[in-house]
């Protein structure tokens, strides 16, 4: 267990380093004078003067050599200081906290929706492997996986909000704004989680201990509750960790389409505006969030199945 935690700590450090190198390269690759670009981002392209650019340069210390700048950033990072956004001037950590809430709400809603759809279908299909539901699931999930998330969002917007006029196409704040973006994310996730659940359930249902439980007279419901769910738990919970990555990618696209004021939307804007501290901060948050989540999942999997299948 300690080895595992140590490994995760090393992973977190390497993630921070990777983010650092990538965003640092991004900063170095900016064409032209960065001070002018940032000044343009702040004051608008028509209002930039050499004086404004010099003020920006002095304020942000842009005339330092590249390596020194990288070292300083990494030191700040180790002190958990993410710096300030060069566009808004607000501390990156405040911006992220603000946006992360909106994203987490959306991601949480999508995850719950996908589990509500995916789990029952996957379990039912897995219990009768080869049956009509199983085959229908295979066809349905393959078709769903072939529809990219942005396309799913487009189809839902055109069908539900424009043609039927039932739900708003974009916006944030009221409960009905949740439905379309969350459904867009959830359909793709449900297709994947139903397949994983089905495979795990089919494996358990075909196992000798399941046949034995049935033979000794347990009802189907008892079998599922006592022997089925716990055994597919580890596979599912490990898969949830991987889904987080899918969810983040989906959030970037879906938030941009639906105008959701979350972290994905902010990230696209930050990359466009070359707001390097903001990109760094967001990338770091997402990367470390992934590591932290997978650490929790390792621990949870260990609780569910203490035999320790992982090295």
């Amino acid at each position: 267990m300690m080895r595992l935690l140590g490994y995760r700590a090393m992973q977190a450090l390497l993630v921070a380093l990777l983010v650092g190198v990538l965003t640092f390269l991004m900063m170095q690759a900016l064409p032209g004078d960065m001070a002018f670009r940032i000044a343009a981002g702040r004051y608008g392209y028509d209002m930039v003067t050499a004086g404004a650019a010099d003020a920006v340069r002095a304020e942000l210390g842009l005339d330092r050599p590249a390596l020194q700048a990288f070292g300083l950033w990494f030191l700040d990072l180790l002190r958990l200081d993410l710096g300030t956004s060069v566009l808004s001037g607000a501390p990156v950590i405040d911006e992220i906290r603000h946006q992360l809430g909106a994203s987490l709400q959306l991601a949480g809603a999508a995850l719950i929706l996908s589990l509500l759809m995916g789990l029952p279908i996957g379990i039912a299909a897995g219990l009768r492997a080869g049956g009509w539901l199983d085959r229908a699931l295979l066809v349905g999930s393959t078709a769903l996986r072939s529809v990219p998330q942005f396309l799913m969002g487009l189809i839902l917007i055109v069908l539900v909000s424009i043609q039927l006029g039932w739900l708003p196409a974009a916006g944030h704040g009221r409960p009905e704004h949740f439905i379309l973006p969350a459904l867009t994310l959830a359909l793709g996730l449900a297709a994947a989680s139903a397949r994983i659940t089905r495979d795990a359930m089919a494996g358990v249902a075909a196992s000798p201990f399941y046949a034995f439980g049935r033979w000794k007279g347990l009802s189907e419901g008892q079998m599922l509750r006592r022997h089925g769910l716990r055994n597919i738990g580890v596979a599912l919970i490990t898969f949830l960790g991987l889904q987080f990555a899918m969810l983040v990618e989906g959030v970037v696209v879906v938030e941009t389409i639906f105008g959701w004021p979350g972290i994905g939307h902010a990230l696209v804007h930050a990359i466009f505006g070359r707001d390097v501290p903001m990109v760094q901060g967001t990338a770091l948050m997402l990367g470390l969030g992934f590591v932290a989540l997978n650490t929790l999942i390792d621990l949870a999997a260990h609780r569910i199945d203490p035999r320790g299948a992982r090295p």
Binding site: M10, T142, P148
Partner: protein
């Protein structure tokens, strides 16, 4: 050589399943459409003619025209060529990188193995789309940025799979016997490892190509990918979206092309596991 015979994987002798064959036919049809269109109907995909705005099909443009009077068929074929080219490049590079590192890590073991695994796990922690977006900010040429960014993302899958398979195979009696007989590492790779790896790598490659095509289209759709007037699937969709009432088929053509390409790739990937 009875020991070595146990190594021959059952999967390799079975060949392609029916699902995979369907997927392959679908994919080949898309590729044929993309490659043959400029030969059969040689029209410049960028040539505008506002007299034909959203006009129906004619001999020069069998799929009709878009909002600027450009041939939809020519644009669709060009967009598919671009996506498929980026996909092929990214899949090829990432496979080479991932399989190479995977074999190396499993074969050498020790520190090299642990470092490579740590690197792979750390890359996995960064959302792929984010890496691609950052690379696009670094590299000015968009297709090149897609290629580099997606290769950096996709190699991890190959690495994990190759490493897991090779470290299992390397201690198998067949490989041990071949080693004792004095065959070199290339022979072992070709005779023992590759036949086992190939079918699994095919699945990863098909999924990787699907990821590439989805990423290129998704970023085009949210206007962060290819720039107009380049024909690109996601870009075509977002350009034609305002005209979906007047010309629903114009919007449907890139949507259908994307769906069929991804369906073909997913069928190729999914058939093996079932």
């Amino acid at each position: 050589m009875t020991v070595a015979a146990t190594d021959i994987p059952l999967a390799a002798s079975r060949g392609w399943s029916r699902t995979q064959a369907t997927g392959l036919v679908l994919l080949l049809a898309v590729v044929a459409f993309a490659l043959l269109t400029p030969l059969l109907v040689p029209v410049d995909p960028l040539k505008q003619s506002l007299r034909h705005t959203l006009a129906g099909p004619d001999a020069a443009a069998p799929f009709g025209y878009d909002h600027l009077g450009r041939s939809l068929m020519a644009r669709l074929a060009a967009a598919l060529r671009l996506s498929l080219l980026i996909a092929a490049a990214a899949v090829g590079t990432s496979a080479l990188l991932g399989v190479g590192l995977g074999v190396l890590a499993a074969w050498r073991g020790g520190l090299a193995d642990r470092l490579a695994s740590l690197l792979a796990d750390s890359v996995l922690a960064l959302p792929g789309l984010l890496t691609v977006l950052i690379i696009m900010a670094i590299v000015p040429n968009t297709p090149l940025a897609f290629w580099i960014g997606l290769s950096l993302v996709l190699w991890v899958e190959y690495f994990r799979l190759t490493r897991a398979t090779v470290s299992r195979m390397i201690v198998a009696p067949g490989v041990q016997a071949t080693r004792l007989l004095g065959f070199g590492p290339f022979y072992i790779f070709r005779r023992h490892l590759w036949p086992e790896l190939a079918p699994m790598l095919l699945t990863v490659a098909a999924l990787g190509a699907a990821t590439t095509i989805m990423t290129v289209a998704a970023l085009g759709f949210v206007s962060v990918g290819m720039r107009p007037p380049t024909p690109e699937l996601g870009l075509m969709m977002v350009e034609l979206l305002p005209y979906y009432r007047e010309a629903p088929m114009a919007l449907m053509s890139p949507v259908l092309a994307t769906f069929l390409t991804l369906l073909g790739l997913n069928l190729i990937a999914g058939g093996r596991r079932a």
